[in-house]
């Protein structure tokens, strides 16, 4: 088999598997992490499709920043569900600014 087709086939199988797993796992944190890795595989797919600008943008935006946003929201929802976000810890930090 042609080596290029083999690489592309492996990528496509990996992408479809990750997408299925991302939406099938019970744990939300696992789903978010799988989505970030799906974004990285998609970035490699953009390179295979002769789109280097898209690869850089997808790796930075699609995988990195979307993952950070999703994890931040997940943490907020989890804290509220466990009921300890309504009384925040006042001693959680002190304000010190550099002179």
């Amino acid at each position: 088999m042609n080596f290029n087709i083999f690489i592309d086939g492996c990528l496509v199988i990996g992408i479809l598997t990750l997408a299925c797993l991302c939406l099938a796992t019970k744990n939300l944190f696992t789903a978010i992490v799988l989505f970030v890795s799906l974004g990285l595989l998609i970035a490699i797919a953009w390179v295979r499709l002769d789109a280097p600008d898209l690869a850089i943008a997808e790796a930075a935006i699609g995988a990195g920043l979307t993952g950070a946003l999703l994890l931040a929201t997940w943490r907020q929802m989890r804290e509220r569900a466990h009921g300890n976000a309504d009384t925040p810890n006042k001693s959680g930090g002190e304000n010190v600014s550099s002179p």
Partner: protein
């Protein structure tokens, strides 16, 4: 099985998986994840049709997909923000009903 047909299968597959996830997933974060997966499928279809064998790939479609990636993350950020707000309101309504 050419490269184009492989990526066409991948893009339609991603779109279908995302669409099923939007319909069937219970939690709101999963629905937002599924919408993002759908958009990735659409972008892959656009980039596949932009690919030429002999010359440089079609830059108009690449620019469209780049715009699409940035707008998709903006939409995801707004959707997560709204989900957080609705989460807070729905909890309050639960407390009021007690």
């Amino acid at each position: 099985m050419t490269q184009d047909s492989l990526y066409i299968i991948a893009s339609v597959g991603l779109f279908g998986i995302g669409l099923y996830g939007v319909i069937a997933a219970p939690h709101i974060l999963r629905k937002i994840l599924a919408i993002n997966i759908m958009s990735v499928g659409v972008f892959m279809l656009l980039v596949t049709s932009a690919k030429n064998v002999n010359s440089t790939p079609d830059p108009v479609l690449h620019a469209m997909v780049l715009t699409g990636i940035v707008v998709a993350i903006a939409g995801t950020a707004l959707a997560l923000f709204l989900a957080g707000k609705i989460h807070a309101l729905s909890e309050a309504s639960d407390e009021d009903s007690h």
